[in-house]
Subunit: 151 residues, 2 copies
DNA sequence: TTGAATGCAAAAAATTTGCATATTG
DNA sequence: CAATATGCAAATTTTTTGCATTCAA
């Protein structure tokens, strides 16, 4: 029986446990960063900052965002890919169910099922011993619309 | 017969022609940038700057490197990919015969034949209408050695 | 209580821009 | 000669760092 105070897993507990297991702490700031990524799906540090600032609470120092994302990435809770020329784009690792397709024309980000990459990843691994991390996979190219516009 | 002055294609001519066709000019600086990329295979703007500076001639302004790479990319002579958290890494488009495999552990860059990606690219195109540009393909993951070290 | 995390401000990097001058074609 | 590029310096933009203070556990 899970009476008051005896619940098996309060929301946030797995996050807390992951942090604790490495001597790190679950702070409200980190919770808000994770929350922002949940909403956003993916975003650069400054977009995360903006999103966090819009959740009602006080804005976070940019350095807190950077350090928070780093910490969460170390734990494997978030991952990043390079969608942009500049900042890395972060997303929840558990959201990595698709690969990002970045249009070089309109910069829009499309998605393809991650399964599509598994075959490729397997081939690379077999041929080279290098194990591709699909959570980091960003493919640049041209979306149908921009392709037409160029021709 | 290709007598003196009648050679069909002096070295540098195709580069000059490509530039000219868009109203741009072939300058010694741009030639040196291309030369540096030929040697390097791939490099970030500051690495290109260092390499160019080491070719005997005077150092180029960093802004010349940035603008030169941009111009050459617009022409399709060079392309870039995101190997790094920071700067984009440039390479000659004609050198894009392999995809870059970036190890998240040691940051070393390995290569795999680009053909390996063609199948994947074809699948993506067919399924989504998005046309991946293999010259921009960078795959992050773990090399055999780092993978072992982690386990 | 105590070590980890935050906020703030300053420092470092990386990239871009304005403009006078030099160069290419 | 005209228009494009360069070099230089200043301005931006992005990310990192140091440190006193706060807070989670």
């Amino acid at each position: 029986m899970t009476g008051p105070g005896g619940a098996a897993e309060e929301p946030g507990d797995t996050l807390r446990d992951a942090l604790r297991s490495r001597g790190m702490r679950l702070t409200p700031q980190r919770r808000r960063i994770v929350q922002a990524l949940t909403t956003l799906e993916h975003g650069t540090p400054d977009v995360v900052a903006t999103t966090v600032a819009a959740d009602g609470g006080p804005a976070l120092a940019l350095s807190t965002i950077y350090r928070g994302l780093d910490a969460l990435e170390e734990l494997g809770i978030v991952a990043h890919s390079h969608l942009d020329h500049r900042s890395p784009t972060y997303h929840l690792a558990e959201h990595a169910t698709h690969v990002h397709l970045v249009c070089l024309g309109c910069r829009e980000v499309f998605e393809a099922p991650v399964g599509m990459a598994h075959e490729f990843a397997g081939n690379v691994r077999e041929a080279t011993g290098f194990d591709p991390d699909v959570t980091h996979m960003a493919i640049h190219g041209w979306c149908a619309r921009c392709r037409e516009a160029r021709s």
